[in-house]
């Protein structure tokens, strides 16, 4: 009786294993395909938002238009954590929240500052590459009379966490920059620097309303 039961169990297990093996490859391919499509759409939606905002007069109005679009598509907790490395673990919840709030405002302000042009420009999606833990959406930014800029978006869990422009990674630069400030002046100074940068964007002559 026990032998029959164990034979049945082994048989079921083998059937289940075979089904899993047979089914896993197509399922995995489908998941990959869907993930790649989601990543491509995520980036193209961001591009459309940037194109729609670039003609808006005034920094404040542009930033207000871009804010929800950017905060929805960028993985700010991941960006924030990687940017300050081990310092993250030393922060309490209130500090983390204050830091991520400032970081989000700064990212929005940077885009509102950069995408302030009536000149025509266009984004072209070149490819979506699957990598170990996510996707890289490869695009180009094309402007008349200028060399195209390659923009590679690193996407994980369907959120952008890094943008590489002509080979220079935004996240790597941020990490080098923030780590250096923390090392020399401490976390409090980093927050003060971020606040100052946001004010500079708001008050720069180019951003006057």
């Amino acid at each position: 009786m026990a032998d029959q039961l164990s034979t049945k169990l082994v048989g079921r297990w083998l059937c289940a294993a075979l089904l899993t093996l047979c089914g896993s490859a197509p399922v995995k391919a489908e998941v990959l395909e869907n993930g790649a499509e989601d990543a491509r759409m995520l980036v193209e939606e961001l591009h459309n938002a940037l194109l729609a905002a670039k003609d808006i007069e005034g920094f404040t109005a542009r930033a207000a238009r871009l804010e929800p679009q950017i905060l929805e598509r960028f993985d700010l907790p991941r960006i924030g954590r990687i940017s300050i490395g081990r310092e993250w673990r030393k922060l309490d919840d209130a500090q983390r929240e204050a830091y991520l709030q400032q970081l989000g405002t700064l990212v929005v302000a940077t885009y509102a500052d950069r995408f302030d042009t009536p000149n025509p420009l266009r984004f072209v999606t070149q490819d979506v590459a699957a990598v170990k833990n996510g996707f890289v959406v490869k695009t180009t930014l094309e402007r008349k009379g200028e060399d195209a800029v390659t923009l590679d978006y690193f996407v994980r869990s369907n959120r952008i966490f890094n943008v590489v422009a002509n080979g220079v990674s935004d996240l790597s630069l941020r990490r080098a920059d923030y780590s250096s400030v923390i090392k020399q002046e401490g976390f409090g100074a980093l927050l003060a620097h971020l606040t100052l940068k946001i004010a500079e964007y708001r008050n720069s002559p180019a951003s006057e309303d």
Binding site: I82, T110, L173, A176, H193, K197, S204
Partner: protein, 246 residues
């Protein structure tokens, strides 16, 4: 020739000494000295070069500015072809040489980039990239006073860059060409300077990291392994993110 060979050997040995960190990682053991060099150079840059470059840009029509840039880029094609060959890229070397011949003749001394219309892309190789392809990947950072970011490996390229018009033009060289080269190059970097100034909290760290990334990008001809770039941030603990989301 011997001193040059000796210098190259010294550079190679310096590069092969035990340096910690992954390939192309930022290595800056002389940070204090480099920061001092950066501060002095940045001061001179802001006081002299940036105003001159801005003035040049404001009075020079875009068309003329572009022709001048093309002229100096054309001079870089011969060393680029040579380095392409040294890196075992014969097609790239041949393309650079072809571009140089076409642009120097049909393109009127390189003022017009006719070769790009044939789909011939500039390889933009240099000796620093050649050394990297030969295995000298990890190299110490140096901020060369008034010349900018470099590494021990890239130092010959950094120094040679300024002397290139004199080498290529020979007896036809005039000091005015050298001045035009410096001003034109500085004007070409004005947007990058603005990006640094508006974005960076620590201009030195920002410049250094950007330099290393650009060089890695160049060594891989614009296509570094994506998995490596992704892995760079893999130390991150997903659980912490989930805690945060809650």
């Amino acid at each position: 020739m011997r001193p040059v060979a000796g210098l190259l050997l010294l550079l190679l040995l310096a590069g092969c000494s035990a340096l910690k960190g992954h390939e192309y990682a930022v290595i800056d053991p002389s940070e204090n000295a480099n920061r001092a060099s950066y501060r002095i150079s940045d001061g001179v840059d802001r006081a002299v070069l940036i105003p001159v470059a801005q003035g040049y840009r404001s009075v020079t029509p875009d068309w003329v500015e572009k022709r001048l840039v093309r002229f100096f880029v054309n001079l870089r094609h011969v060393p680029s072809a040579l380095n392409g060959a040294l890196q075992g890229k014969p097609a790239r070397a041949a393309t650079d040489l072809g571009r140089f011949l076409v642009n120097s003749t049909v393109g009127v001394a390189g003022l017009f980039d006719v070769a790009s219309d044939f789909g011939w892309r500039f390889g933009n190789e240099d000796f620093g990239q050649t050394l990297a392809v030969w295995g000298y990947t990890r190299s110490r950072y140096i901020y060369v006073p008034f010349l900018g970011p470099s590494t021990v490996r890239d130092l010959p390229t950094t120094l040679f860059r300024g002397a290139l018009p004199r080498v290529m033009l020979g007896s036809q060289y005039h000091w005015g060409v050298g001045v035009a080269d410096v001003v034109s190059r500085r004007a070409g970097l004005l947007d990058a300077t603005r990006a640094r100034d508006t974005t960076a909290l620590d201009g030195y760290a920002f410049t250094r990291d950007a330099y290393f990334q650009q060089r890695t990008h160049a060594v891989y001809d614009g296509a570094p392994p994506l998995d490596d770039l992704f892995d760079e941030f893999d130390e991150f603990d997903d659980d912490e993110l989930e805690d945060l989301a809650d």
